[in-house]
Amino acid sequence: MTTTTREPMVEMDGGKQKWSKWGLMLVIFLVSMIGLSAIQEIAGTSQLTSSGTWGAALRLTVPILLAGLGGLYSERAGVVNIGLEGMMIAGTWFGAWAGWQFGPWWGVAFGILGGAFFGLIHAVATVTFGVDQIVSGVAINLLAAGAMRFLSVVTYTIGSGGGATQSPRIQGFIQTFDIPLLSPFLQSIEDKEWFFFSDTAGMLGGFTTNVSWLTVIGLLAVPITTWLLWKTAWGLRLRSVGENPWAAESLGVPVMRMKYWGVVISGALSGLGGAYLVLVQAGIYREGQTGGRGFIGLGALIFGNWIPSGVLAGAGLFGYADALRLRQASAVHALLLLIAVLLAAFALWKLYQKSYTAAVSMGVFAILFYLWWALTDEVATEVVTATPYIATLLVLSLASQRLRMPAADGIPYRKGEAH
């Protein structure tokens, strides 16, 4: 997390720096894998790095990622979107309805449209009418939840096998694939239980076995977003609207239209995230299925400092914790030790940098986490459920100097205001 990750736009001498960035990532990856393997040995669990956990983590990451990326488009265009949750709910309902009626890929399309529709409402309210963006977001969350319940009662209660709170099962499923040769090879290494190698194989295996095509699409949204927003003229315009709409308009950028694009794409991506929950994870729509993932996506957006790769990192972290909770709650306990070790390492790093207060406070937290690990046998599942929210609060309060949200985020803009 050095300065290079903060603003890809200002990266001047690309070549050399890029290599060091990849090198750094490789080092971080190797160190964390060795760390995970070691922790796993000490704590006596195998779930931290099993392919099953990684596969589940991937499936739990994608919806959060999509909601977070949705928030990214909107906030990069200067519109705060706390209606992500409502748009995601619309995505789950329409995804399930079309999936039930016509098949899963239609579910994907309708989920996107359903989310985009609520995105459009948010855009009309906030961009055209200049309504407070938070108020509109709250209203969309209320409205979407009520409207989907209404639609369920109208469509599912009579003779479909569903009900007021859930849909009938969707027809068919989104195809999954294994990478030939690689998946079985990784599986065989994982079974050998070699320190580090089996763990790495478990992770790679989890990412390459039984992967849904929709997962691939969801993950591809990250590079596509980076390319769209940072490498195209359209993206520059969109971001300029979120940074300084007055200057953007004076340069001839259609501010209102760009904001509309941002907010509607935001809804579409959240809707896709909702459809993913239905089509890949559950195979059915249930009321309350999103479980606050829209808000977790908002957390991932902040955690990731309003850049796509950061959103992916945040979503991945929250998805991994959730996967552990679902697969083996006791494995979560081992994570406490991991956090203690990480904090201790951080404390040593701060000591080396001669910033003693930070070192001491980190050290104290490391000891507290170690004691928590040593003195208890398990972590309450509620603690894990609250983790994304606590992490977001911690990042906001401890690293707020490093965060850089779009400068005009949340500020209503009226056409021609600059003149």
Binding site: I82, A125, L143, L298, T385, L393, S400
Partner: protein, 371 residues
Amino acid sequence: MKVSKIFFSLLAPVSAIIFSLGVGAIVLLIVGINPLDAYGQMVSFSADSTSFASSINKAVPLYVSAVAVAIGFQMNLFNIGVEGQYLIAAMFAGWVGTNVVLWGPLHITVIILTAVIVGAIWAGIAGALKVTRGVNEVISTIMLNFIAFSAIAYLLANTFSVESESLNLSTGKLPDSALLPNLNFLITMFGFNEPRGIEIPGFLVIAILLGIAYYVLVWRTRFGFELRISGMNPGSARMAGVNPKKMVFYTMLLSGGVAGLIGLSTLMGKLGAYTQDFPRGIGFTGIAVALLGRNHPVGMALGALLFGVMDRAALVLKLEGIPEEIVVIIQGVIVLAVVVAYEIVGRIVAAREVTAAAEALKASNGAEVAA
């Protein structure tokens, strides 16, 4: 002048309500239901004493919630965390209430104080983060909502619950002396029938007192003045010697403290305990009511009553085989429509003022030229 002012302040909410009923009617038409029939059923169902009591029952917590939100709105602070604040406050209040034995009125006071303090602490976290670390209160209160839900789930399952036959986790029934008496005599003394299965909550009295206290605090005290000018123009408020950080923190504490009261009409009324199925969502609907009533104590009371009546009337739709969720849709549309309407009316009024000023200027210039 006075008449046109009242006209313009009523124009936005009334047109928003009419618009939302229209949207609801269109939705009903699409699914093949006669909207006039549905609305007619709702109106006739609302006109009896049981419905009246039920509407009041629903309106009281909504009103308290709206006041909590409105306190923040007065200085442009958005407390979305009312939801988490009232739930966690109600749970602690229920737990404390069942675990202390006191003389009735004192017992009630202790329960109310617990709720206020817990609500204030939970909102105070967001306030403290804002003034010390600059964390936006919208994001922090959203996150604190979910942390509160997790904390409630944990504490209710592990620490606060009492043994009972039902699977519904609960903090245990409060003793009768800790419950507020119902106000059903308000209905019977006018010769109407006693409401069936529902009570006018005694908490209504506290809610009315709260509304008066809110009015006095915001419009008749120095603190309220500083609160309002901080909201209107933070820059000049600071120049006038108002400490913005102190104001933010106190406002969050106050808002959270009031939020703590939301659950009490249920806790100390019919339900008598904090349970797993304690009513949720009042914190978010309260935002809608505060917007509809434009942060004014009387406006919010009317808004809360409207929402209460709608919630009650929704029940008849279910009996008639009409999806009752149409009411939630109408309420959601009201929130959006009312803010849009205020925006439009604001622009019209501003345009009228500009025209009036221009004409006055022209007239005075003309007079000068003539002279």
